[in-house]
């Protein structure tokens, strides 16, 4: 494997993992070729943006729907709809999580620039949607108040 997959390496390069990844190669060619590992391991917003290749510009063309108050931070629904033409990627970030980047989606042509997911939110903070459209990064953010953290136990 010529791409950095720290998590896999840590596990001592399990043969199973290698097999599973190899089987996905034909599809991978169409999608983002490499997991943005630097962005996933970053511990703050600045580092995450660096890993994604730049600081996004705020945009009103991104529709971010999240609850104002989440009773359970372990399951917070988030909907992102982008009205920016040429949306290629959608990232979901939770500002104050140990690693802000939660998910990175690639939107091929023919797929609506919309995703809906449930994420964990450790404490009250901004939920941020970053959209890559036409090679540029845009973002929208909204605060969610958490009354019970997502990392209990």
């Amino acid at each position: 494997m010529n791409y950095p997959r720290r998590s896999f390496l840590k596990l001592g390069g399990s043969a199973l993992a290698a097999l599973a990844t190899t089987a996905m190669w034909p599809l991978r060619a169409l999608a983002a070729a490499v997991r943005p590992e630097a962005a996933f391991v970053a511990k703050d917003l600045e580092g995450t943006y660096k890993g994604l290749g730049g600081t996004p510009t705020a945009s009103a063309e991104i529709d971010l729907s999240t609850p104002d108050i989440a009773e359970n931070g372990a399951v917070v629904p988030i909907n992102v709809t982008s009205k920016l033409p040429g949306t290629e990627e959608i990232y979901i970030l939770v500002e104050k999580n140990p690693n802000p980047l939660a998910a990175a989606f690639t939107i091929p042509e023919g797929t609506e620039p919309f995703v809906s997911l449930r994420v964990k939110v450790a404490q009250t903070c901004n939920l941020i949607a970053v959209v890559k459209a036409g090679g540029k990064l845009y973002s929208a953010s909204k605060e969610t108040k958490v009354t019970l953290g997502g990392c209990g136990g």
């Binding site: 599973a20 599809l27 997991r35 140990p98 980047l101 998910a103 690639t106 797929t111 136990g153």
Partner: protein, 103 residues
């Protein structure tokens, strides 16, 4: 991986809405068990969705995605009888693939 993944896909006015509920613990690696020992990380790292053989959505996930992840997305061009396949791979190399027929 006790229960299988559930996928629902429906086409309305040319847009196919896919809803998938995966069954996965999504452990962050930061929690500790009752004895104070860390619970090892176990989470889905990659999700691929295809319509027939065409890629319709690809995602890399971190451990911040909730337990038993729910994913919802939409694409154009689906017709009744087509298949939607969703596959996930986790950080331990486990994977699951499930297929649904469009209605």
């Amino acid at each position: 991986m006790a229960s299988p993944m559930r996928i629902r896909a429906k086409t309305t006015d040319g847009i196919t809405e896919v809803k998938a509920l995966m069954s996965h613990p999504m452990e962050t690696g930061m929690r500790k068990d009752a004895e104070g020992k860390p619970i090892p990380a176990h989470y889905i790292t990659e999700v691929t969705a295809t319509h027939n053989d065409k890629l319709v959505l690809h995602a890399y996930w971190g451990p911040a995605v909730s337990q038993n992840p729910f994913l919802n997305f939409q694409f154009k061009g689906g017709a009744a009888g087509d298949t939607v396949t969703i596959k996930w791979v986790d950080n331990l190399g486990e994977s699951q693939t499930e297929q649904a027929t469009l209605s």
